[in-house]
């Protein structure tokens, strides 16, 4: 990878940089994903920094793409609000440094444990501004929560990893920080029982806001965690109801200490358990009830189930390809760290054709992250 970095300080300059590019660009925010394109000039959005609008009473925030996530979280915390989708901070497990930016979070549809109920990053994106591969500046969506005016390019841009355009501004719906968090803890469950317990909890009326299971937790034993958030009277009631409901799976403990619940869910969110583990880090999205069977076939040293089992993280040797075991399963596997496999799951021909055509339309010269995403 070359060391050239373009770091435009305005949207207009960024548009100019793309319009005048005559070779591939590797798009990055804070550069914390370790995802660059080889031999490409790096184009960073870090010069586009700052929150341009924040209305706590309307749950709305607009920020330039290069704004560090930490700055946004700090600002929201002052009003007792937060990013609703719990974005993951994978610096520890990826071994990278730098400041994750909101633009990269959006471009990756980076969604943490809250995705299972509250929704993904894409569900909280209200609007975007971006520069396409020709250098044209495009705006879509806006700053209001309900908007069906024209096509939803906001969703198309979320998770497009800089291949259709470079985000310059993101508008988000934010949510109040709950008064209290409570966690139900179960030890020693098999994967199948853990997924069944999480499904039972998620299928209850108690509005579970997170459901995760690790084959090997901090104390090296299986641990299953179910999160409830809200006002104190409500959290207390719901924890008690769920404790009784889940009793058939084994003993249930309750944790409500703020520091401990926060640390526990950060551990899930950031996949901390895989820090320093050798091998390829995989992220597999699938139907929760299919997850234990796939994990059993792959037999990793440890598996972390998030989203009630709908998302599985594991470290596997380079020689193991989880995709080879996914025939007949709905879902996909992404290589988040490591070698020997393409990053994104190859798509079915009909979908791949649409994807390639869209890329050609939005980036006719193929300068935006070529080679990434198939």
């Amino acid at each position: 990878m070359t060391t050239d970095i373009l770091s435009p300080q305005s949207e207009a300059d960024l548009a100019q940089a793309i319009a005048s590019a005559n070779a591939p660009l590797s798009i990055q925010g804070g550069g914390t994903q370790g995802m660059g394109v080889n031999d490409a000039t790096r184009l960073s959005t870090s010069g586009l920094n700052g929150v341009t609008l924040y209305e706590p009473g309307a749950l709305t925030l607009v920020a330039k793409a290069g704004t560090p996530v930490a700055n946004i979280s700090d600002l929201l915390a002052k009003e007792n609000q937060r990013l609703a989708f719990d974005p993951r901070d994978l610096r520890g497990v990826l071994g990278t440094e730098g400041a994750p930016t909101i633009g990269a979070v959006a471009a990756m549809n980076n969604s943490g444990p809250a995705r299972v109920t509250a929704g993904a990053c894409r569900d909280f994106m209200l609007g975007v501004r971006f520069v396409d591969g020709s250098g044209d500046i495009v705006s879509n969506g806006g700053r209001v929560m309900k908007n069906v005016t024209g096509y939803d390019l906001v969703k198309l841009m979320s998770g497009s990893h800089g291949t259709l355009g470079v985000l310059t501004e993101v508008s988000l719906k934010v949510l109040p920080t709950p008064e209290m968090t409570g966690v139900l803890l179960m030890n020693g469950l098999s994967d199948a029982d853990a997924v069944a317990a999480m499904s039972a909890a998620l299928g209850s009326p108690y509005e579970v806001t997170g459901a995760a299971h690790a084959q090997s937790g901090v104390d090296a034993h299986p641990v299953t965690m179910i999160r409830i958030e809200g006002f104190e009277e409500s959290v207390t009631y719901r924890l008690a109801q769920l404790k009784e409901m889940l009793g058939r799976f084994g003993d249930v403990a309750i944790e409500t200490d703020p520091a401990r619940t926060k640390a526990g869910w950060a551990w899930v969110r950031d996949c901390t358990v895989f820090e320093g583990k050798e091998g390829n880090l995989w992220r597999v999205s699938l139907k929760p009830s299919d997850a234990p069977g796939l994990v059993a076939k792959l037999a990793p040293e440890n598996a972390l189930y998030d989203w009630g089992g709908g998302l599985v993280w594991m470290v596997l040797p380079d020689s193991v390809d989880p995709r080879a075991q996914m025939d007949g399963l709905q879902g996909h596997a992404t290589l988040m760290r490591g070698e020997g496999h393409v990053r994104f799951h190859p798509e079915a021909p009909g979908v791949a054709k649409l994807t390639q055509s869209l890329r050609k339309k939005f980036d006719p010269r193929g300068v935006l992250n070529p080679g990434l995403m198939g």
Partner: protein
């Protein structure tokens, strides 16, 4: 409302086109007699009508593909249709088009409670999706007010919302996968029962594309466990700005109601005369509903009341029973009927930032005087989605045009204050020519590029969404635009 000149070549080939469609579809699936195609001449935007060339009602996804392939080969525009309840003219035909209805595709294909989804054919009505999972304690969250009649296909095309989307989101937030048939007749599976896309979020751009990218025949929908209960509070204020401030304070306090509905004085008076719900005669009325167990509801309503009292309400009523809840909702639910009792009305659908509410209501009041047409405002205050109802007399020459001009001014106002033209009804033909007020040519070009990819010949619902002059070079370009 201008419609493109029909393609005379297509019109001249009607018999040939009908024969080709009959050749690939079972008996009774192709309708071409003028007295029968007339039933498809409009949707719920009844001011505009035009019978199509023919109507096809396929019974399987494969038949949808076969019919689209024929139309693609013969360069015939296709207008997809769910239940025909669009308020924006989304399924209004042109005379040179074939209407493709999914009304016969109504099966539930799979229900999966552990994984919390249902897979249905998209001709199924919105309410009957919830109906299919109700006994097991689940529901499908998006609930447009037409939910008894509207089809899932149309919900996906328009990204429909509803009264409860403040908490549960709109269609796009509850859609996991689709079977899409492209205009070329190719069947593509996008998404599934899992929770995110493997690559580009094609599902996200298909939802809300108003039937212009493909025909969705099957959908995997997220289902949610039903809450233990729900009850509202009713709060009346003497001032719109104070009501707006109260909404903002409730949201800032961390309470997330399932619905916050707002009615202004003209609407309150009309519904009171019509339904006698016992509403106070005041400037602004809020109905705020929360969910949970009985005790949880009591606690939340108490928090809401405490905030409301700081704003000196003229009336504050917490529902304690299902009877009291029904009474509070009665007026709101009959608001459209009540306005319809007074005169014909046009229902708008712009969204504004909640903070702009007092200014926008004041401006609408001024415009109402300028145009000499009455207007009542009902809207989803939590998310700023307004539904001004403009009263006019359809039998009075010029009144519809005056009403449309008034409506356009209100929608432009919504855009000026940082909002948008449509929050949940869609653009269709109704707001097509206003799109340039919200978007620059580059913005529209980017959207049209997506259509170029999915439908290179621009045959699917082509005269909608984009201003006709903007899309002119693409429509009828026979794929050259791609």
């Amino acid at each position: 409302m201008e419609l493109p000149t029909p393609d005379s070549f297509v019109l001249s080939r009607k018999a040939e086109i009908v024969a080709a469609l009959q050749a690939v579809l079972p008996d009774g699936c192709v309708i071409d007699a003028p007295e029968e195609t007339r039933a498809y001449e409009c949707d719920a935007l009844t001011a505009y009508r035009c019978p199509p060339l023919a109507v096809v009602l396929p019974e399987t996804t494969e038949q949808v593909a076969a019919a689209l392939k024929v139309c693609h080969q013969m360069n015939v525009p296709v207008v997809p249709r769910g239940a025909g309840t669009s308020l924006a003219g989304g399924s209004m035909p042109t005379s040179d088009s074939v209407v493709l209805g999914v009304a016969r595709l109504t099966d539930v294909l799979e229900t999966d409670y552990p994984n919390r989804f249902i897979r249905v054919q998209t001709g199924r009505t919105n309410l009957s999706v919830s109906g299919a999972v109700e006994e097991n304690g689940f529901f499908y969250a998006p609930d447009p007010s037409s939910q008894l009649a509207c089809a899932i296909s149309g919900n996906i095309a328009m990204n429909s919302g509803g009264a409860h989307c403040l908490k549960y989101g709109v269609t796009t937030n509850n859609l996991l996968g689709v079977t899409l048939v492209t205009m070329e007749g190719e069947i593509v599976e996008i998404g599934g029962a899992h929770m995110d896309a493997s690559g580009l979020d094609l599902l996200g751009v298909i939802c809300g594309s108003e039937g212009q990218l493909g025909v969705v025949t099957e959908a995997t929908l997220r289902i949610l466990p039903k809450p233990e209960g729900a009850r509202p509070a009713l709060i009346g204020f003497d001032d719109n700005a104070v009501a707006g401030a109260c909404v903002s304070d409730i949201i800032k306090a961390g309470i997330l109601p399932v619905a916050i509905e707002f009615m202004d004085r003209p609407c309150i008076r009309a519904t009171e005369a019509f339904a006698g719900a016992g509403y106070p005669d005041c400037e602004a009325l809020l109905i705020i509903e929360v969910e949970g167990s009985d005790a949880e509801i009591d606690a939340q309503l108490a928090r809401i009341s405490e905030i409301a009292r700081k704003h000196n309400p003229v009336e504050l009523r917490e529902s304690r029973s299902s009877d009291e809840s029904a009474k509070i909702w009665l007026g709101r639910k009959s608001a459209f009927g009540a306005m319809g009792q007074i005169n014909d009305y046009m229902c708008l659908d712009g969204t504004i930032p909640v903070s702009e509410l007092p200014y926008v209501l004041q401006r609408i009041g001024e415009l109402s005087k300028d145009y000499a047409l009455g207007v009542g405002n009902v809207f989803h205050a939590g998310d700023g989605n307004m539904h001004p109802l403009i009263l006019f007399d359809a039998n009075k020459p010029g009144d519809l045009e005056k009403c449309e001009a008034f409506g356009a001014d209100i929608l432009k106002l919504c855009v000026e204050v940082g909002g948008c033209l449509t929050g949940e009804h869609g653009v269709g033909i109704e707001k097509r020519d206003l799109m340039s007020h919200q978007y620059t040519p580059e913005d529209l070009e980017a959207q049209m590029k997506v259509k170029d990819v999915f439908d290179p010949k621009w045959l699917l619902n082509p005269a909608k969404v984009f201003p006709l002059d903007t899309s002119e070079n693409r429509r009828g370009a026979q794929g050259d635009a791609a």
